[in-house]
Subunit: 137 residues, 3 copies
C-alpha cells in the first residue's frame, strides 16, 4: 500500500555560507515512515539556501564548492538592484536548486558511497527549515 | 487511494530572457486534481528554458538572477559551435534545470513564504508549454 | 495499482568530460516496468558526474554546454584544497545536479521534441552506474 509521510526539522547555520550534512536526519525520517521502497524529497523552503548532494568524505570538497560558487556569483555586482544585499545568495540558490529527490530501497537511502545530502546556507547565519517527504510502499 | 493527474498550459514570453510566475496555474491544477497529499512536478519540455523556484516579493530579485545568469554564460563565446546562436540559452537551461518538484499538503503547495515557481525563458520571445503532474492521495 | 521498479545500468565514459545520451536505456526500463502513468527518476550515485536534460539533435549543443561548464568552473584554481585535483568536477556535479525526474504517460517518456536525458561525465574516463526508478500505475 502506497503512503506519504511529511515531516520537518530545523538547521541552525553559523556562517554566511556553509554546507551542513543532513543525511542522518533524512535517513531517520525514512525509517520512521516505515516505507521500504519509494523515494524521499528533501525541500528547502528558503530562497537564499539550497539542497545539494555531494561528497561526504573530504571536507575540502565542501570548501572548494563554496569557493567556486563565490567566484561564479560574486557578492558585489554594480548591476544588482535588490536592496537587501543578498542577490548573490538568491542566484546560488537558483543554480544549486531548492530540493533533491533520493530513492529509497529496503528502508535505506539509495546513495553512492561518497554521497551525502547537504543543506546549503548562502545568507546566514540563520535558523532554517528543511521539509522531508517520504512516499512509497 | 493514490492517483496521478497530468495537465499542461501555455506561457507566452515577450523578451529574450524573462521569468514568469506560474505558481497560480500550478496551484489550480493541484486543486482540480483533488489530491490532498503528495507532490506536483512542473516540467518544461524545452531546451532553452527552465523552471526555477525563487523569491516572489521583490521583482529586483528576478532582475538580479537574470543578470547574474547573463554574466555566468555570456551570449557570445568564440568557442560556441551551435549555429542557431542560442547556446547560452541551452547552458542556462542546463544549470537551472527543466523541472521542479513541490510537495502538496492538504491540497496546497508546500512553499516557503517568499517562494514562487517561475517559468524561465532564455531564448524568447516564444510560445512555450509547461507540463504539470500531480501525484498522491 | 501503484508500483515501484528500480533498476540500474552501467555507462563507460571515454573522456575527462563527456555527455552520453541515455534516453533509450531509460525508456527501456519504463517499458519493462509495465507502468503506464507516473514518473521515472534517473539518479547518478557519483559526486563527479551528473544527469542533465538537453538537446538531442545537434551535437554542437553538447560541445558548447561542456565548454561553458569548463569556463564557469576552471579546472585549476589556486584556492582549491581537495588533493585529488578534481574539485572542478565536484562543482559541475553540484551545479547540474545528480538526478532528473521525467514524467511517464501511456508507457512513454514525456519529453519535448528536442530533449534527451544525458549522463554527464566530469572526471572520466570511468565506469559509472545509473540508477533508474519508475513509479506509478
Amino acid at each position: 500500500m502506497m503512503g506519504v509521510l511529511q515531516k520537518e526539522f530545523r538547521v541552525s547555520t553559523r556562517g554566511r555560507t556553509e554546507m551542513i550534512d543532513i543525511t542522518g536526519q533524512v535517513q531517520s525520517i525514512v525509517r520512521e515512515s516505515g516505507i521500504a521502497n519509494g523515494s524521499v524529497t528533501v525541500f528547502c523552503p528558503h530562497t537564499t539556501a539550497a539542497i545539494m548532494i555531494n561528497e561526504n568524505a573530504d571536507p575540502s570538497v565542501v570548501h572548494d564548492v563554496l569557493l567556486a560558487l563565490d567566484e561564479i556569483v560574486p557578492r558585489s555586482n554594480p548591476g544588482f538592484r535588490h536592496d537587501e544585499g543578498n542577490s548573490d545568495a538568491h542566484c546560488k540558490s537558483s543554480l544549486v536548486g531548492c530540493s533533491e529527490q533520493v530513492l529509497v530501497k529496503d528502508g535505506g537511502l539509495v546513495l553512492g558511497t561518497w554521497q551525502a545530502i547537504y543543506f546549503c546556507e548562502f545568507d546566514g547565519p540563520r535558523s532554517r527549515r528543511v521539509i522531508v517527504q517520504v512516499q512509497g510502499e
